[in-house]
């Protein structure tokens, strides 16, 4: 299968290791990964901040980048960005009166999957240890992102994949469905409320006793990780793609600057 990777702006710029891990997993399964080079951002930050006019060229760029090229499906390691591609992009096109863009946005949205959706629903992955060789001998707790839960209805897909990783130990997180308080510019515009939400999330993560908090959205992980870091917590955050990519031979390092060895034949 030819799979177009939508890295998302935040992963591309701040967490390249998550995109590399996504590539590793898909190539390990024998698929060909493409990276449409004109891609940038889904436009969610502009849209959720009310800057619809500014969002339009961002949306148009994404739709153009993913309307061309020969690929079967597109994938992003982010539920939030996929939800934006599927739901918000056509809305912005409609808002700006661009029916052609709306149609093309809908077509792109229909081919775009969040990583766990692609792995479970399309590629039939049910046992990461057996099918991907995933091995990760650490204790982790899992925070489901709001947009994964409520906009994409991912259910337990990410958690089930994690459970099937070799060597992993999952710890329960209390109040898993509670938002971490990120919410894009909400974290800045309503910094006090956002911080209060984060404080509670950090407390429950620390109470889980896990070494790592794992999730599927880099933005939430950036937020939670930033809160843990400020408290000099021993707990860090990690994207589930990196855990799936980790094997006994090429383990992901979880201390210091995390760098994943990715792609066959590379070091």
């Amino acid at each position: 299968m030819k799979i177009a990777l939508f890295a998302t702006c935040i992963v591309d710029a701040m967490f390249p290791r998550t995109a590399k891990a996504t590539v590793t997993i898909l190539e390990r399964l024998g698929h060909q990964v493409l990276f449409p080079a004109t891609q940038a951002c889904c436009g969610q930050m502009h849209i959720n901040s009310g800057y619809f006019d500014d969002a339009l060229p961002v949306v148009a760029n994404h739709v153009a980048a993913f309307s061309q090229g020969d690929y079967d499906v597109a994938v992003a390691p982010s539920a939030s960005c996929v939800a934006s591609v599927k739901h918000q992009q056509p809305m912005i096109a409609r808002h700006c009166g661009d029916a052609d863009l709306e149609n093309r946005a809908n077509a792109v949205g229909a081919k775009t999957y969040e990583l766990s959706q692609l792995l479970v629903d399309v590629l039939g992955i049910t046992d990461a240890a057996a099918q991907l060789g995933s091995y990760f001998p650490h204790t982790v707790t899992y925070h489901p992102s709001c947009h994964g839960m409520r906009l994409l209805r991912l259910g337990d897909r990410q958690l089930d994949l994690l459970r099937s990783v070799g060597g992993i130990e999952l710890r329960d997180l209390s109040g898993p469905d509670q938002c971490c308080g990120f919410g894009g510019t909400f974290a800045m515009k309503n910094a006090d409320v956002s911080s209060a939400m984060l404080e509670d999330k950090v407390k429950s993560i620390e109470a889980s006793g896990a070494e790592l908090c794992v999730g599927g959205d880099a933005s939430c992980l950036l937020h939670i990780g930033g809160g843990l870091s400020r408290k000099d917590s021993g707990t860090a955050t990690l994207h589930f793609a990196e855990i799936l990519a980790s094997t006994m031979e090429a383990p992901v390092s979880v201390s210091g600057e995390v760098e994943l060895l990715t792609g066959r034949g590379r070091s």
């Binding site: 701040m14 080079a37 800057y51 020969d70 510019t185 309503n190 409320v193």
Partner: protein
Amino acid sequence: MSQISLGMPRIASYGSGNLFATESFPHAAHRDLDNAQLRANLGHATGTIREKRLKVVAELPDWEELREAGSVLKQQVMADLPRLLVQLEENVTQRGGTVHWARDAQEANEIVAGLIRAEGATEVVKVKSMATQEIGLNEYLEEQGIAAYETDLAELIVQLGHDKPSHILVPAIHKNRTEIRDIFLAEMAGVDPELTDDPRQLAMAARAHLRRKFLSTKVAISGANFAIADSGTLAVVESEGNGRMCLTLPETLITVMGIEKLLPTFLDLEVFMALLPRSSTGERMNPYTSLWTGVTEGDGPQNFHLVLLDNGRTAALADEMGRSALHCIRCSACMNVCPVYERTGGHAYGSTYPGPIGAILSPLMTGIEAEENNSLPYASSLCGACFDACPVKINIPEILVHLRGKDVDAEHAKRKLPSQMDVGMAAARVAFSSGRNLALVEKGLPLGKLMAGPDQKIKRLPGMAGGWTQSRDIPAPPKQSFRAWWKKEHVPTPDTSQTPDAAAESGEDG
């Protein structure tokens, strides 16, 4: 339609009364977040009610079907509102009631005060009503020399405490039992000085306090949960029996109701009476629901007045993206699940309507530019919990985003110089609207390392971004972006099933 449009008011008719945030949400929230007692009370109360709701909702195999029916029924009501209102009016009138129409809060208050004066009354008993809260009826009546006694326990607590409700269902949710005991001891005439903070004892003190009023007051004021167009029937849903007292014993009943409260037929109650109690108090059914139609000889009030209130509802109705906010049945499920409400409480929203629904309803009814109401649509992380909990499926997050858009447009129209946010968004537009531009920005990112300390963390940023670093670090940016790595270093897996040029194509710069 065009023929009718000729006489149309050109400007939307916005609401007045208690619909305004008088300080911006972040400022109000900052103050309330510092109140540790408030946060503890709210956390406990919302946590309790969330669990109860989930349990009774899970009992029903057809919850989603009920929600869907409720949603479409309300769409139908909105689309057919003129006909249904006239039908309601005809049925209420035919059965001995009198219908009044009020364009705004002031007009509604004047109508109600006039009706009370016509009965020669100087005091009234009230059953909890959001509509009368919204129009500031109690305050208006006080100015007119009429005493209005709230009879719902929580409303009584709020009234005796000279406080404001902070939740539409549990108005005193911000007070714990000890605080309530202290209010009763200080404000309730003739209360037992040995009163403890046991909720049962407190409830019994309220019963004793109100009993005489119920048995002797001649005029009662209520709101309505539902009005049935095809029969003229009104419904009040309650728990304590104070509603039954007010609706049954006085000679005159005045009901103030928003024009959106209609249901087309009596049988439609089968949907809404399944949705409302489970969503609001987390009960299979609330203890008491009263239904009455006009006046019944020998049973209940012999004078019945229904005041139909616009007060900005038509302005909300005119907003195609926002009008479904009028589907709200005031269950409060959205605030009970909202992580923002849970931490700030209802006062931070300023308006009578707090929480997620208030954050859309208030600006829709007043216009986005009124006072500080433009800060309300931002009082959400867009986590979506409210939409999932809403029994009539109001897509609150989508309307919040829609109203943010209206706010940005309104601000742009007003302002000559761009705000800090405008500048940031314009820069981000340029960076995010082409892969090349983003690549250029990413090349500069490693400079961010200079801002990071020896531990590779950025701990303080200037301006708006300082909101982020007040409680969160940012990791130092990576040396190389993903796209740079892909272009320079990625070696695709050899795959015999693919055409040989596919890899080259995938790495090509667009």
